[in-house]
Subunit: 456 residues, 2 copies
């Protein structure tokens, strides 16, 4: 038998033309978002001043299983999709594992990450609605880069609020976002009311995704014909990212493979949600039973140590509330933590599925993540982003278990980004100056104290 | 008729298994390298203390048309090859040109460039010979990164001498090369005799590829069981890079296309040599007659304003002499010039073909190159390296000519690298602080004064 190829491609004809809406197959639907003032489920009318209309509909749609990808978005996708599925032969060999490891590589575009999958869709719908500007936030910079790319493509002005600590750690993100013609503002800033308040309350703060969201939303609702877009957490984002898993499933079928284990890193949920949805469908319908693993940073452990509760999506409490695993909107991750995955909460879809036992979560320490990243780079010739490297760590740990037991499990993980903008963190790891931070129970209690009291 | 796909892939089975040696079809062979002391053609015995043996044989082989790619190198290639051929639909649309533009994208690996094609081969032969360490130089950092990657893969210690001005402009190159376990030294350094001499002669110099080569060669010949490897200029490098054009030709045939124009950027020749060889074969054998265009920087115009003469390959004059288009080994490009393409000479193969009228050369200014790069990034979602952006500039200029004449020419160019490590230059362009430098005739005369007197 011929050896399976290293990289498994799809042709454009084989590319999925629909996104899969995992909510349609969930017995317990994710809880609805609540209005921050009334604590009542948010209506379409209340959402449309913040988000563009079509996206609000997608956000609220718990029933349609498959949603057509507009032709214009398919055209945009074809610039960088289908993405390759790669067999990690060299990593397997280095580990000496009987496991078969596959990864879906989503880093082959300027944005350097999977975020472009949702950016392409969201900006398209905004353009179609006739909006004249957009705002967003970015943590590590992947989403901001992807959105600036999509905004350049559809020619809509964009303002990006970037978490200050990342802005300072990654100066080149500014250059790239500006190259695509967008404005970039370190957050918390003095350009919004909520930013000024946060700066006053936490002087010298490095910011958080929660702060940046508050600022971007305020800017959107106070600007004519402008809306806010978000790259993670939301149901619509998990929907758009579903294309990752749909493609991966077809690619694996081409080599007669099906994963025993599916692994994604977990920050807000776009990465894990993207790779898992197609396989979660099989789990929910009983067609198959793969193990699904979320890997989160020990420094920001929203699933493994958080609470499943309604919480503010943002630090400034201007956004709707979502029911999710959360550390509390005032939880501030250590600035020593590199890259993204700093969000206090978790996608309501991923949270509900975790709560219902459909996936498991593990937390890993930063230096262990970079150890995995370096091994991966040396063996597979791709330098991974720190966020994605959490998934690599998870995959390596599972493959090492197989080495002990002798099981030849099939492992699939999502490699969503390249680390070219994370060399400061790699240098710290190389120099031995990188530290691990694990919040104490007291740290967590402070975050939990900021949870709102909601009667369900 | 179905629309041609955006990206044209090859399967592993369709991947070429031989490199093409363009010298075999050249009527006028490239002139032999000369010993720097005797000025006599260099023998195999004189070369083997510097380069590894198999590579010396390839360097001297003007006759074998096709050379088998060793199976082990093919396995390494499969980690990142075949590379996609991409139709630049979005760029074509933005330009409003009737031309069809294709590009071969070689940036999908950690090294971020095509340099890995030759690195994989050279380190393999070194390992096979039982060498215990290697040295090299790097300009923009692409070659150094690729070689550190290949050295990690084959587990051979490596020292990289990096042109000081690039080392300072691109601090993250250090991090990535160190991540792969190699040592990196800014050149000219005080670790070699020749480096100390150059520092004395040109205090405060930002260095040049010529200096870095001298240092790396000195280090190799003064270290036991160590050899020097080089990422451009040499015949063997053009040989290994031929895989780019061989793949591109098969890919174009899949959509019934053949280029009217083939474009590569020209620094030392690895980029242009890689894309053009397969098409040059058709030109040399009379099978077809595509136009082949080398695009070089106006700040370092070795073909358009240089002399075709024997010259030192390095500033320290420890290397063999090569007959090539050159600005003289003491020509120092302006430090304001971003990225690579700073070498004073040009591959002897490319030089001879240029001299014999088989290709044309154009020189372009830096700001025009970045203008093209930005348009390309916004339309095609790949942020190109400054070096490759010279080819983009060339392709855009040809496509704009087509717009004027109404001709629907087919243009193929080589996109050899991503610009993720060049954001300092992009930022300068965004800020409007980037300047163009064109050497005066006097500047050139100074370089020419360093040409050796060789009787042919």
């Amino acid at each position: 038998m011929a050896k399976e190829p290293k990289r498994i491609f799809l042709t454009e004809d084989e590319m999925p033309t629909q996104w899969y809406n995992v909510r349609a197959d969930m017995k317990n639907k994710p809880a609805p978002m609540l209005h921050p003032g009334t604590h009542k489920p948010l209506t379409l009318e209340e959402m449309t001043p913040i988000f563009c209309e079509e996206l609000c509909k997608q956000e609220l749609d718990n029933d349609t299983r498959f949603i057509d990808i507009p032709e214009e978005v398919q055209e945009f996708y074809k610039i960088f999709r289908p993405s390759p599925l790669i067999r990690a032969y060299q990593l397997e060999k280095a580990l000496g594992t009987p496991a078969k490891i596959y990864y879906k590589f989503e880093g082959n575009n300027t944005s350097g990450s999977h975020k472009l999958n949702s950016a392409a869709a969201q900006v398209y719908y905004a353009k179609k609605q006739g909006l004249t500007s957009l705002t967003t936030e970015t943590g590590a910079g992947q989403w901001g880069t992807a959105l600036s790319m999509a905004s350049a493509f559809y020619n809509i002005p964009l303002t990006v609020y970037m978490v200050k600590v990342s802005y300072e750690q990654k100066p080149f993100r500014k250059s790239i976002i500006e190259t695509f013609g967008a404005d970039i503002v370190p957050s918390p800033s003095n350009t919004t009311k909520v930013g000024r308040e946060i700066n006053e309350k936490f002087p010298g703060t490095g910011g958080s995704l929660g702060c940046a969201i508050s600022e971007a939303v305020e800017k959107a609702v106070t600007t004519d014909n402008c809306r806010y877009v978000l790259g993670s957490v939301l149901n619509q984002v998990i929907l758009h990212q579903s294309i990752i898993g749909e493609e991966a499933k077809i690619q694996m079928a081409k080599v007669d493979a099906y994963p025993d284990i599916v692994i994604g890193c977990a920050g807000g949920g776009s990465n894990l949600g993207g790779i898992m949805s197609a396989f979660m469908r099989d789990k929910l319908t009983g067609a198959a039973n793969p193990e699904i693993i979320a890997v989160e940073p020990a420094s920001c452990p929203s699933m493994t140590r958080g609470k499943f509760a309604y919480d503010f999506a943002d630090t400034g409490h201007v956004c709707p509330l979502a029911k999710m695993y959360t550390l509390g909107s005032e939880f501030m991750p250590s600035p020593s933590h590199a890259g993204g995955l700093r969000y206090h909460g978790m996608s309501p879809i991923v949270s509900q599925l975790y709560h219902d036992g459909y996936l498991k979560a593990v937390a890993v320490e930063q230096t262990k993540v970079f150890e995995a990243a370096e091994l991966f780079a040396k063996t597979e010739t791709i330098l991974p982003a720190p966020e994605s490297s959490h998934a690599i760590r998870g995959a390596i740990d599972e493959a090492l278990k197989c080495k002990e037991t002798g099981e030849a499990k099939t492992i699939l993980f999502n490699l969503t980004g390249t680390g070219f903008f994370d060399m400061t963190a790699y240098q710290a790891y190389n120099d031995g100056t990188m530290s691990d931070f694990i919040p104490t129970d007291e740290d967590l209690e402070k975050g939990f104290a900021s949870l709102p009291q909601i009667e369900e």
